[in-house]
Symmetry: C2
Subunit: 411 residues, 2 copies
């Protein structure tokens, strides 16, 4: 017998039929003898409509009222899911953030969970009842409803699993797991049985977009094993776990990419103290996040070329800021390029395994792909390449790191 939190995302509970189907997935675990708590999102689209209503009503933004409005979608679905479970003969009741309570700080619209009181939930679960908890919401110190940011129901589920000391947290969604890379681009992509929290964080922030980054960080901190799985397919999904739970670790677990990249190059900027501050200070002030940065060693000690990347949507604003500050920057020319993508190989195994960068650069060179910028972390190597080469680069790297389908049979 295990204690499991099952979380259903917006597409998994998008209408009456899907809620009933999700309830069957819950009943199956109950029938297997497990203790279950359920966390539900709003029906897909409902929260967007609520957000739209608030913005149509008022140009002033009172996050406390925003929270009262947008939290209604999860509230309704919690009640509906409890009814669906009862209809299947499963004892169940809905729980809203304020009823448990799930205590948060007072940062309405983006609150952080501070504590969850689980005594009554635990007692009821032990007696065979399934609590259905409204995701995305909590109770602030002002006794008002808070929400914890878009996509926050993943975080609600992980926090609840941690508080309940659950054996795992199953995130039911519309994909059946985490893949070695995007299967729409690389047909030989494989579903991973396991991935570490650290790898998942690198994959998610690089665009894998399956789990909310915050929920993965929380799962890592609370050491909650998470399973990403499909509501609509029966196969097991991908387990996101601690590194020490994975016996045989691949060097590289996956290849991720991001199209949301743009490159800015400052040609022959003055190579003297304070210039970097002149460049990145105004960008930070304007809330523009800079990702990769490369500065060449200057040949004459006077001027240097500086290249960095920003999110595509920030490119115009960044260029406008820098053009305005051109005098301070003392650079000859500013070049903007939005036709780039970032490709990253990710794997905790590379900590103990040299040669990943070499394998990567060789594989790309063999296909004639020019690397524009490189950045590395402990468990990933990222390169910026022309967007024309995205698919080619992904396929080449997927093969080079032995990730293609059925590699064991082939080797």
């Amino acid at each position: 017998m295990a204690r499991i939190v099952q979380k259903f995302g917006g597409t998994s509970v998008a209408d009456v039929e899907r809620i009933k189907h999700a309830a069957l997935r819950v009943k199956r675990e109950v029938d297997a003898g497990h203790e279950i708590a359920v966390v539900v999102s709003a029906m897909a689209g409902v929260t967007n409509r609520m957000v739209e209503l608030t913005s149509q009503i008022s140009s002033m933004f009172d996050a406390r009222e925003y929270d009262a409005v947008v939290a209604t979608g999860e509230q309704a679905n919690a009640g509906l899911m409890a009814l669906a479970l009862q209809d299947l003969g499963v004892q169940s009741r809905s729980w809203l953030g304020w009823q448990i309570p799930i205590r948060t700080d007072g940062a309405h619209g983006k609150a952080r969970i501070q504590g969850i009181e689980t005594d009554e939930l635990s007692r009821r679960m032990a007696a065979g009842e399934v609590p259905v908890v409204a995701g995305f919401q909590g109770l602030g110190p002002d006794n008002r409803i808070t929400t914890i940011g878009r996509g926050g129901s993943d975080t609600s589920a992980v926090a609840l699993a941690g508080a309940l000391k659950a054996d795992r947290c199953d995130i039911y969604t519309d994909v059946d797991g985490i893949y070695t890379t995007d299967p729409r681009i690389v047909p030989k992509a494989r579903k991973l049985e396991q991935i570490t929290y650290e790898e998942m964080l690198e994959m998610a922030s690089l665009g894998a977009k399956v789990l909310q980054t915050r929920s993965v960080e929380l799962a890592m901190n609370l050491r909650v094993p998470v399973q990403v799985r499909s509501t609509f397919v029966d196969d097991p999904g991908t387990f996101v776990v601690s590194e020490d739970k994975i016996v045989e670790q691949q060097v590289v677990s996956g290849i991720s990419y991001s199209r949301d990249e743009a490159k800015i190059t400052l040609l022959r900027a003055a190579d003297q103290p304070g210039v970097a501050a002149n460049i990145f200070g105004p960008l930070a002030d304007a809330n523009i996040n800079v990702d990769m940065i490369v500065q060449n060693v200057s040949e004459d000690g006077k001027a240097t070329d500086l290249t960095f990347t920003v999110a595509s949507g920030d490119l115009d604003a960044a260029v406008r800021l820098l053009e305005g500050a051109k005098n301070d920057l003392q650079c000859e020319k500013l070049i903007a390029d939005s036709g780039v993508v970032k490709v990253s190989v990710v794997g905790v195994g590379m900590r103990s395994h040299a040669g990943v960068a070499k394998t990567m650069f060789t594989a790309l060179a063999e296909k004639g792909i020019n690397i524009q910028v490189i950045s590395t972390s402990e468990i990933k190597v990222s390169v910026l390449v022309s967007e024309d080469y995205l698919e080619l680069a992904l396929r080449a790297l997927h093969t080079a790191f032995g990730l293609d389908d059925s590699p064991k049979e082939e080797s």
Copy 2:
């Protein structure tokens, strides 16, 4: 300076534009120096959709989950209205049933309000803030959301006005007041400036359908003056008040009617003890409400004709029940007739004024309208007539009791 509760019904807050318009009505009262609390319904149609969802999800009916689901419509509108008021520069915040709290009993789906804690609301109102209270909902003894029955937001508003010791409760709706009779049938119908609670109760239960009956009863008990007025027109509406507040009382205030009537006649039923119980017992057990009852004195002391009315929708079930019990009833024949309407003249003035029934019967007789059944209460006289004569009867009575438009100028 007055303290006023303003309640906006579903059609008055049906979309973003209407919420903004309603907010302007609130701002006007605030600008006039009044202390205001607002009660809102859900957007028209939203509660119906939520009810539909719960019935699609589950054939089992857990009223506690039903309440959690259907209460979301008022919650969202409370937040949206607070935002709309803030946008107009009016200090405002939303209040949900559990936040105030509005305490109810545990009868989920049809709870009764037991008490409203108003200290904080009062303090904030005195400081110029406008609380926007979600109608229709409260907090049950089980710490869960309760709802107080369909149309319950009128009752929420009146209860809040009573607890706040408000000077009046304005019910904003899509009609501009209470009329002497249905203006669609009688063009000379006049809007009443005032009507007593008792008259309003008779009008409402007879089909006027402007105010929920329960809210009128509560207003009468709490002695809260209620104004029924239009959200979309600026004129004052109709005040519903105590009898002692009305200086010059008409004998008859209005003529109401109900099409939702059906007549059942039992010919030559045995005239002996226990027969009435045999007839009305099974109907009561089947939750069929019997309204008017007439029993003729029997000529021979053995058999009598018995006539009574039920709601149209109950006619088939009533006939089936009575046919099944024909032996017990010992009657010769059962006649059902759904082609009847009930027409009533209502007025507290008739307590001290004889001759109302005579005036009524004479007016109908002059038009050749046959009266099938008569029933009376202290402040109303009702007759059952063929539905063919509804319009004619209303016009004749409206004129006979001096209710036609501008009667003072004419007299």
